[in-house]
Amino acid sequence: MNNNNFTIKTKELVKVFRTEEVETTALNKVDLEVKEGEFVAIMGPSGCGKSTLLNILGLLDNPSGGEFYFNGVEVSKFKEKQRTNMRKANIGFVFQSFNLIDELTVFENVELPLLYMNVPSSERKRKVEAVLERMKISHRKKHFPQQLSGGQQQRVAIARAVVANPKLILADEPTGNLDSANGEEVMNLLSELNNEGTTIVMVTHSPSDAEKAHRIVQLFDGHIVTENVKKIL
């Protein structure tokens, strides 16, 4: 791993999905660089490859071709275990459908990434309490996800994403299932985290959510067709 600031970079990234009859190129030679502290929004029509790109950037999937440098390390051919280790140490995810575990309480959901990282119990408790307090959801820590509103569930999901202090947050339509007031609150939280130095890459259909980003990348049919710098860091 290099000593430079955290970056992610793709070179001619390709992702092809194959079935017996059909071959679909979801990403076609995508070149993208995201620097430390950036907030990048990825937009484009349904099926253009946004979520596929996010899954690869999040080390949930490998590309079919091209290069992917995660903090200076070429990871495009990493095995599942290597990807998992790098993901646990560096990335937090926020999904449209929250992806909380219904059988676990709010506290236990947020604690999960720290358990995977073998963080000692007392430290886990301290970190989880602190992040729940910050997300203004600590009064619900003993509740189960289905006892919470959508906005509260997404705040828990963000708490889970940031509890291990990741360098990168990947958000896939984070306000897609929320009403506008809760959506705005979630976007404000993401902006706040970004202002504190966390790099964020967010897939969105919402132009107003994208306005919070420094840069908007437009994907179309697996290609980046334009990039629009909104704010200078």
Partner: protein, 102 residues
């Protein structure tokens, strides 16, 4: 409430849809425009040679490069809001813009 969806009847090319929004004392005017950029090509290029006729709505590299050029040469006073997926066989691709600072 942060966004409203409103129907826009008969919104054609070369027209600007102006939307005035008044909230209490405050009035905001938004201007939207749909542009059509060329999308058809004479011959599929090599990148599409492996595709069957049924898959041919997949864009060719030439189409993508033409779209990139059109987007980058567009009036900087307008920001891109949405690229619409063209129908199979379409000769133009439509892109929605909003006037900056409107």
């Amino acid at each position: 409430m942060k966004e409203l969806c409103i129907p826009v009847p008969g919104f054609g090319e070369d027209q600007i849809a102006e939307v005035s929004l008044t909230i209490g004392e405050k009035k905001v005017v938004y201007s939207y425009r749909v542009e059509s950029f060329p999308w058809s090509i004479d011959q599929p290029n090599e990148d599409c040679s492996a595709l069957s006729a049924d898959d041919y709505e997949h864009a060719t590299l030439e189409q993508i490069n033409n779209l990139r050029k059109s987007l980058s040469n567009y009036d900087k006073g307008w920001e891109l809001i949405q690229i619409f997926t063209p129908r199979k066989g379409a000769t133009h691709i439509q892109v929605l813009y909003r006037k900056l600072n409107s």
